[in-house]
Symmetry: C2
Subunit: 353 residues, 2 copies
């Protein structure tokens, strides 16, 4: 299996090292072969090659079975013009690879739930999978420009029926292997694209009679994620709504540093990255939390390589690591041992072998 590693900026390098070690352990325990190639993306690529997404990187990714990404961005490039922003690398590679489905599982860890901003009785038992469309909507619609001498501006929210169908199908399929409840989020009382989205959900629903479907307006969804997070199973929505809601959901459990994400397409190729950002303030100090990255490796094994057992093994090892009290400074475990990136990774490896 060919895996492209894109460490990117900030803490990306450190946590990518953890991913590599974990994969090597899985390789030797299960007799797999993973080959790694490292490439530049984001700010690092801007500095080295003058572009956030070099051709080389694109080619390596296109030629891989899966991609692991650390993080992109940092204050160094904040003043850059739009096409020289680190994020453009991330947006570009998603689009180039046709990764249309962003999966963001949100699940608490019992030893960490006390750090949630929500009351325990509210957050307890939540287990949400947010599925965000990733290649359409306001992110890529044209025109996106100033007009009339800079007096006016437009962006365009554009979708094709095909783009809606494939992500909505992914939503139904995911609900089917979970608790069979799908929440479709839109703004159908205002947007024509949302009305079409709702129609497509209605059509697809016929193919999944065992899945219970509900429609929520995006404003209502933003409320209910907070008041009743455990009412949700799978949420499916368009690109920008998904961006907002999945970030909102990511703080509910109080341990953002633990959350993985997957961006996939139909044939199984995918890009996997932790939800947390590049954290430039702690970069290079060896104290970044590697667990979101390690859990992203588990998602890769599951979704791109159909290695369910190996994925579950990693998730179990991460859980045990926490139970044993090992954690980085972003987390807080009662009577735990606050250690660095390396030690946490070693604790996971211990539990894997």
């Amino acid at each position: 299996k060919k895996i492209t590693l894109l460490p990117g900026d900030g803490v990306g390098k450190e946590i990518m090292e953890s991913a590599r070690v974990v994969l090597n352990t899985i390789a030797s325990e299960y007799d797999h072969r993973f080959s790694f190639r490292e490439h530049a993306i984001g700010g690092e690529a801007i500095d080295q090659y003058g572009t956030p997404l070099p051709e080389d990187t694109i080619q390596a990714c296109e030629d891989s079975d899966a991609v692991l990404l650390g993080a992109v961005g940092g204050p160094k490039w904040d003043g850059n013009p739009p096409h020289l922003r680190p994020e453009k690398g991330l947006l570009g590679i998603r689009k180039k690879l046709g990764l249309f489905a962003n999966l963001r599982p949100v699940q608490g860890f019992s030893s960490l739930l006390h750090a949630s901003p929500l009351k325990e009785e509210v957050i307890n038992g939540s287990d949400i999978l947010i599925i965000r469309e990733l290649t359409g909507g306001l992110y890529f619609g044209r025109p996106s420009e100033r007009r009339n001498n800079g007096e006016e501006v437009v962006d365009t929210l554009a979708y094709s029926r095909h783009e809606m169908e494939r992500i909505i199908e992914k939503g139904f399929q995911s609900a089917q292997i979970r608790s069979k409840r799908l929440t479709s989020v839109d703004k159908a009382n205002v947007l024509e694209s949302s009305r079409m989205w709702r129609e497509v959900v209605g059509e697809k629903a016929k193919d999944y009679p065992d899945v219970e479907v509900e429609h929520l307006l995006v404003d209502a969804a933003a409320m209910k994620l907070i008041t009743e997070p455990n009412r949700f199973d799978v949420i499916v929505t368009e690109n920008l709504f998904g961006d907002i809601l999945s970030d909102e959901a990511s703080v509910l459990t109080g341990s953002l540093g633990m959350l993985p994400s997957a961006s996939i397409r139909t044939d199984g190729v995918g890009l996997y990255e932790p939800v947390h950002g590049s954290a430039p303030d702690i970069a290079g100090k060896g104290i970044a939390n590697p667990l979101g990255m390690i859990l992203s490796v588990a998602l890769m094994l599951r979704h791109s390589f159909q290695m369910e057992e190996e994925a579950a093994e990693i998730e179990k090892a991460v859980n045990e690591c926490l139970e044993q009290g090992y954690h980085t400074g972003d987390l807080d475990i009662k009577d735990g041992k606050k250690v660095g990136t390396k030690e946490v990774t070693e604790a996971v490896i211990e539990n894997l072998t």
Copy 2:
């Protein structure tokens, strides 16, 4: 002062009655004259006149100093085509009157804060004013249509510089009379309209050197509202982001039924309504919470009539009503007295006289 009353649907009628009684009390206590005219909007208007926003209603509103709205919508009209939806009445009257600034104060009441989904130490001390642009963006941009035989769809996010300037100025002015901190929310790493928005904020900032400005991406704002609600003072943002964030913020204090809102323009004319909806499930039972409506009356006195003293008097009376334990069933007060709409209104009146 001429006030148009638009009770609308569901509990709208009941709570509008409370607004009327409170205004009559203020009139006699302070020797003001308020004249009321009631008109139809929303579902009720669809049933009576075949349109959610009759000409009569528009004219009455245009000829008034302020408008009070109860709520619109209900399952009865959910299947209607877009132009016959109750919400169109609300969107239409905002647009017709040119009400470009939606003010959504979010503040907790100490006797109710225990019902917040957030931990007390997280929500405590929060006092946020969200200012949402109300006449531009994806809500009104054209084209908004299917294309290519229904295979594609677009909506348009459109803004003029003028629309940005006036709402951003409102943001700065509001921050200036509060804690002098303004958070501007956009998605400048993706949208051209957001990049222009950020520029306009930068230009206007020069006119308000005493206000501290910060820029947040909408996804980050959705997170921080939950993790650190008390870091915010005034938030200013475009229409759809404001819709999502203000609804998200409205559940933080645990007493949605208490929240008022104002939609205003530069000359002081405004439309005032509670944040909660038409609550069709409890309509007609006399148990709806009138306090969000009554606090909206206070906002009207403050923003449209410059009656600061009277507004503060109402807010004090509402607070006392809660301190005395009177509340409707949507709230929960320790050792409180659960009563109906009428009794809560009477308790407020008692405290006013």
